[in-house]
Amino acid sequence: MSTPTATNGIHDRIRGIFRTKLNVEVPSADVDIIETGLIDSLTFVDLLLHLEQEFGRKISLESLEVDDFRSVSRIAEFLGRPDLPQAPQGS
């Protein structure tokens, strides 16, 4: 189980991706980024790529559940799953 500090660290890293890589300001960790229209399909694919690079985990676009990416909190939970494969080197 993650400690609150570790969780905050992951949240910050995810929000950092939104801010610096995607030019998207996410108001809070629980805001629904899809429902509020903060990201579009292109940005979503970009997001997955940056998450893979930042966290070294492989995210399959073809088999993912969009609901897992609705908020910074949900993304952090998703990335914490032990069954998530490692991203290939250099991806």
């Binding site: 990201i39 399909s41 979503f44």
Partner: protein, 586 residues
């Protein structure tokens, strides 16, 4: 195998019109899937390729290429049932989840981009065609395949750069041993092609269509004036990529669809938007110049980085941005690569060929050979030409020459006398350029020739230069290139030699460059014969060569279209194969 590749997405513009009614007509071109085409490979050999616009006569048509497919099948004597694979140069399936972000994108995927949407068109135009024979190749891979498998090189760097594929704006591949390996991709949110098109729209021209006009306008402007603006817009990264924050400003679905925030930024921070009917001023010329300079820089940045990283000295290019002859010329002159090949149908029509090549290569059928001059379209025989002439016999006079040499002799005499003639023969070109089979020709040294052609036929913007076609043997005499430099596709700009610029006013751009086409006896024999004859009458084996069409019309395909265009304009003579046609004196 018989493989037909296709491009275009028919439902794309209608979907946009339904969901965003009331936009300016030019804004509907901010959409995917224009330039439909079909290409047929038989056992890996290119048999026929044609853009649908030449068949249905709608410029840049994105319609399902039913007419183009029909032609390809006729060319090979095949029936639809003989097609083993029908391959589309788009593959959206991997991005299904990404399009579920909002209801409109979801509908866009379902109604426009999905396999089911394509299959419904196949069912409409090729009834009974088995769905399991329909395949998809991702858009940039199709572009890359069109370049790599026609390059004749076993190993090279392959760079695709366009507005966007499914989600990417540029993709870099290493082509080696008959395979393409992706090594870098850039998001469409950092697409220099989209940026170029947005500025094209901002300057009063058409998005996804008129970018070449901005390229033509650029040499009249001062690239320094807006340099700092564009330096801020396109940020070059150390890893060879670039970042374009301007394209990420759009936050709502409507803004994203039509780049509203990006365009507002251009209005507020660059210059005000020009309407198509407004006069072109220095301000517009300077924006074009600054934009083009930034594109040149970004292309060099991307290509140089991946050339260095891979150590490859041969570069193959495709994608709409690869039609930018100025940027290609800068790349060629940079010396970064020993050789550069730009696939002549670099726009989306070329993805029809690329999609087919990719599937054929996977099946081990492709012998990678350099693309010939792409005379891959319809040929209309003497019977068809005679039938077309009979329909207008009261309005024309026809003189039949015994052979090509005699026809060329007369054409050369007319060109030397300052006449403008249309030159129609053989199979139609694939790709945007007329390369000597559907051309309008004139003497490039004749004073006022540019203005004459513009007023009599092209009705086009006065700032746009015409291009020269020259024999391979004489290219270095007139242009600043090594002897026998092959530039057969009219897709790379070179310098006109300083001492000849004043004598070649119709084809020399204001910056001393020209978009030259070299013509060899091996690859373009009939046109070469004509240029040799012209050399005997003018002293230069060179003509001004522009496409045989009027503004807004696709290049002519059939003899009937050639005659109609001839009679509807001020073109003085028309050669249909070896028949000279002129208007009957009233």
């Amino acid at each position: 195998m018989n493989i037909i590749g296709i491009s275009g997405i028919e439902q794309s513009m209608p979907f946009k019109k339904k969901h965003w009614p009331g936009l300016d007509e030019r804004e509907y071109r901010i959409s995917q899937g224009h330039d439909s085409a079909a290409a047929l490979l038989v056992d890996g050999e290119i048999v026929a390729c044609v853009a649908e616009e030449r068949m249905n006569r709608k410029k840049h048509s994105g319609d399902f290429p039913a007419g183009a497919i029909r032609y390809c099948l006729e060319e090979a004597g095949l029936a639809p049932g003989d097609i083993h694979e029908l391959v589309h140069g788009f593959d959206y399936l991997p991005y299904r989840a990404a399009f579920a972000m909002d209801p409109v994108s979801d509908a866009l995927y379902r109604d426009v981009f999905s396999r089911e949407a394509l299959l419904s068109l196949v069912g409409r135009d090729l009834p009974g065609f088995p769905a399991e024979r329909v395949h998809h190749v991702s858009h940039h891979l199709a572009h890359a395949a069109s370049a790599y498998y026609t390059s004749g090189w076993d190993e090279c760097l392959v760079i695709v750069i366009d507005a966007m594929g499914e989600i990417h704006g540029a993709t870099v591949y290493r082509g080696r041993g008959g395979r393409l390996e992706p090594i870098h991709s850039a998001s469409a949110h950092d697409s220099i092609g989209i940026l170029y098109s947005l500025v094209t729209l901002h300057l009063g021209f058409d998005f996804n269509s008129d970018e070449y006009k901005i390229m033509g306008l650029a040499p009249y402007g001062d690239p320094e004036r807006y340099r700092s603006f564009f330096d801020g817009v396109i940020r070059l990264n150390g890893d060879g990529s670039f970042h374009i924050p301007l394209l990420r400003m759009n936050k709502t679905r409507d803004e994203r669809e039509n780049y509203l925030a990006s365009r507002a930024f251009l209005r507020e921070r660059l210059i005000k938007e020009r309407s198509p009917q407004d006069e072109i001023t220095d301000e517009h010329r300077d924006v074009a110049a600054s934009l083009q300079a930034q594109l040149d820089k970004a292309m060099l940045h991307l290509c140089a980085h991946f050339g260095k990283v891979t150590g490859l000295r041969r570069l193959a290019l495709a994608g709409g941005v690869a039609l930018n002859c100025t940027a290609n010329g800068k790349l060629l002159r940079s010396g970064i690569f020993d050789e550069i090949y730009v696939q002549p149908a670099a726009g989306d029509d070329g993805t029809a060929l690329g999609a087919a090549l990719q599937r054929a290569a996977a099946a081990g059928e492709v012998a990678n050979k350099r693309m010939p001059v792409p005379f891959l379209g319809p040929l209309h025989d003497a019977g068809r030409i005679d039938a077309a002439l009979r329909k207008v016999e009261g309005r024309i006079e026809a003189v039949r020459f015994a052979n090509l040499d005699d026809a060329c002799g007369e054409a050369a005499r007319l060109i030397a006398a300052g006449k403008v003639l249309a030159w129609y023969r053989g199979r139609m070109e694939y790709g945007p350029r007329a390369l000597g089979h559907r051309s309008i020709l004139a003497d490039p040294g004749h004073p006022q020739m540019r203005e004459r052609i513009n007023s009599m036929v092209k009705m086009r913007e006065a700032f746009r230069p015409f291009a020269p076609a020259v024999t391979l043997e004489q290219v270095d005499r007139w242009f600043d290139v090594p002897p026998m430099t092959e530039l057969p596709y009219m897709i790379i700009i070179v310098d006109v030699r300083k001492e000849h610029r004043a004598a070649l006013p119709a084809i020399t751009h204001v910056d001393g460059t020209a978009r030259v086409q070299t013509v060899s006896a091996k690859d373009n024999a009939d046109f070469h014969t004509l240029l040799r004859a012209v050399g005997r009458t003018t002293g230069r084996e060179m003509v001004l060569n522009t496409s045989f069409n009027v503004k807004g019309q696709p290049i002519v395909n059939t003899p009937e279209e050639a005659i109609d265009t001839f009679l509807g304009t001020g073109i003085e003579y028309l050669f249909l194969e070896n028949i000279l046609i002129r208007r009957r004196e009233q």
